[in-house]
Amino acid sequence: MMNVLFLLAVLLFLLMVLIGGKKGARSFISLFLNFGVVLFTVFIMTDPNGNPIIITIFACTAISSINLFYINKVNSKTVTAFISTVVTITILIFFIYIVTKKTMIQGFGEEEIDELNVFSLYLGVDFVKIGAAVIIMSTIGAITDVAISITSPMREIFRHHPSISRKELFTSGLTIGKDILGSNTNTLFFAFIGGYLALLIWFKDLSYTFGQIVNSKIFSAEMITIFSAGIGIALIIPISSWINAYYLVKRREKSEGN
């Protein structure tokens, strides 16, 4: 009997190649490479001596190189998008770590704990840091997407208006970013909700009061993930616009100097 996942993967591969050609095939392979990075990250995180925050920053660097350099090749657009992603992730992860620590949303919720009673929970790894890592990893795909969606049209603008000032270039980056802000937060919102639909139905089935839902670990964790993702998407807009504007104008000044 054939496996559903295998069949769906084959269908996705065929569709991607049919519609996207070579780039479609690379997009499909990138999913596998990213899956490998996630698994490898999990393995390293099982070592209690490692710091999950540092491991996550490295993992995100690897993932954004796959998403940017492998799918789109190395060029000035992807390089600035890459730098912006790494800068944003590094800023964001400290914010998320503080939030996770304060709100105590790490680890497992009381709704899950009954099924886990065969397991030992005293594992020596730092679940607060792992919780912060989870939130940042959920958002990494969207953050690289916003970065490349800003740097790529900015370069087109620069090509059509070669004498544009740094400030004007920065503003045009912001304008592009604003237009994609809504649709990207929406994408993540629906993905998270789709993943947690079963739990939300369960809350309603057990007639949890509004107060119980809002204070429960799993629901708070879910909302905090959505909020942090939105903050990350919003943050990378000025960051990548600024880095890209700085880079493009610097390069022009250099070539004029020669």
Partner: protein, 374 residues
């Protein structure tokens, strides 16, 4: 700075005042809402460490257990104002326990045997998280407003509308016995129409995107359903949903339906905006040229879009994977138990994204051609 102030209109000032007012009242409210809870709440005033023990579990995982003595002031109910003594045990790793600090507000249960004239004792059930949630929610809204201005406002509004709509749908589902998939179908149509109209306005571009989104999600769902039917759902492990007393296949399909919606909408609107922009710039552009640019854009976005869904679905399983692996579960078992549903969602969402590219392209061309005839 001066120019910024000049650009402010009355509308901006009024909006600013409304936001500031909502922010301040909601924060004051969550810091003083103890009376609205039936569960007793206490604020921690004193903590002391009682003992620390090193433990090693049967798999040689080393951890530390701490026991805290806590004194807290009760904030609601008929014992309001009294002090209570609590004990809290937590581990260094913190998978299901937490170190509490002075100032934390917690939900508590009283010990049954505490007599009238002795000290009240009890234990902590959970942290009161509502105030943090409200503050982070506001940080989110303000970041969106500062960066996105008007678009940021619309993004927050559409998020709020979607949350309310989703909550109503689930209420209807739980209280009646309407088939969840039909209900989600209707909600998906509402989500799509509202979100796209709110952000992009009433125009051909939006209509084309709405049609493409609906066709894309429904076809992707159909393909996934057929794939599940053909393979007899071999390889899907519903164990992680087994707490549900509902038909979990249906809940899984409904989650998949809603989960891919945002990404599909994003693809549909990207394609249709680009098509209409090309048409506006050159009214005589040929269908062939439109198709070529449409496919080029599609190629550019399909990789990153599928990756967005992939990470949004997979990352949540990381703590569970670590728990299984640290308890020496075999790798294959760990992955198939914890990731099969997430991978299926990611793959099905990917199919939705890719299939929406040609669908969005052809619906846009259809709407463009209708505009030409006018």
């Amino acid at each position: 700075m001066n120019r910024m102030i000049k650009n402010l209109t009355y509308k901006h000032i009024i909006l600013f005042i409304i936001f500031a007012f909502c922010f301040i009242t909601s924060v004051i409210f969550v810091y003083h809402n103890y009376a609205f809870y039936e569960r007793p709440i206490a604020k921690i005033t004193q903590t002391s460490m009682e003992e620390v023990t090193d433990i090693t579990d049967s798999y040689d995982n080393e951890d530390q257990l701490f026991t805290q003595r806590i004194v807290a002031e009760i904030k609601n109910g008929d014992k309001k104002g009294q002090l209570i003594h609590l004990t809290n045990e937590y581990s260094a790793s913190g998978a299901y326990d937490y170190p509490y600090q002075v100032g934390n507000e917690v939900f508590i249960v009283f010990d049954k045997n505490s007599k009238e004239n002795t000290n009240l004792t009890g234990s902590i059930t959970d942290l009161k998280r509502d105030k943090y949630l409200v503050i982070i929610g506001w940080i989110f809204i303000f970041t969106l407003l500062i960066v996105g201005k008007k678009q940021g406002l619309f993004a927050s509004i559409s998020l709020a509308v979607n949350i309310i709509l989703l909550s109503y749908t689930l209420d209807i589902y739980v209280n009646t016995n309407i088939n969840l998939l039909w209900l989600c179908g209707i909600t998906v149509i509402l989500f799509t129409v509202l979100s796209l109209l709110l952000v992009n306005g009433f125009n051909g571009k939006t209509y084309a995107a709405i049609v493409a989104t609906l066709l894309g999600t429904f076809i992707a769902l159909l393909i996934t359903y057929l794939a599940m039917w053909v393979t007899d759902e071999n390889g899907l492990h519903y164990e992680e949903m087994q707490f549900l007393t509902r038909p979990y296949q249906l809940v899984f399909l409904a989650g998949l339906f809603i989960g891919s919606l945002g990404a599909v909408m994003d693809v549909a609107i990207s394609i249709s905006s680009a098509m209409f922009e090309l048409y506006q710039k050159n009214k005589n552009i040929s269908v062939k040229a439109l198709k070529k640019s449409g496919f080029d854009i599609g190629k550019d976005i399909m990789g990153t879009m599928t990756n967005i869904l992939f990470f949004a679905y997979i990352s949540g399983s990381i703590p569970m994977l670590i728990l299984y692996l640290k308890n020496y579960s075999p790798l294959g078992f760990t992955l198939s138990i914890n990731l099969s549903l997430e991978l299926a969602r990611a793959l099905a969402g990917g199919i939705g994204i890719v299939i929406t590219i040609p669908i969005g392209l052809y619906t846009s061309i259809f709407f463009v051609n209708r505009m030409r005839e006018k």
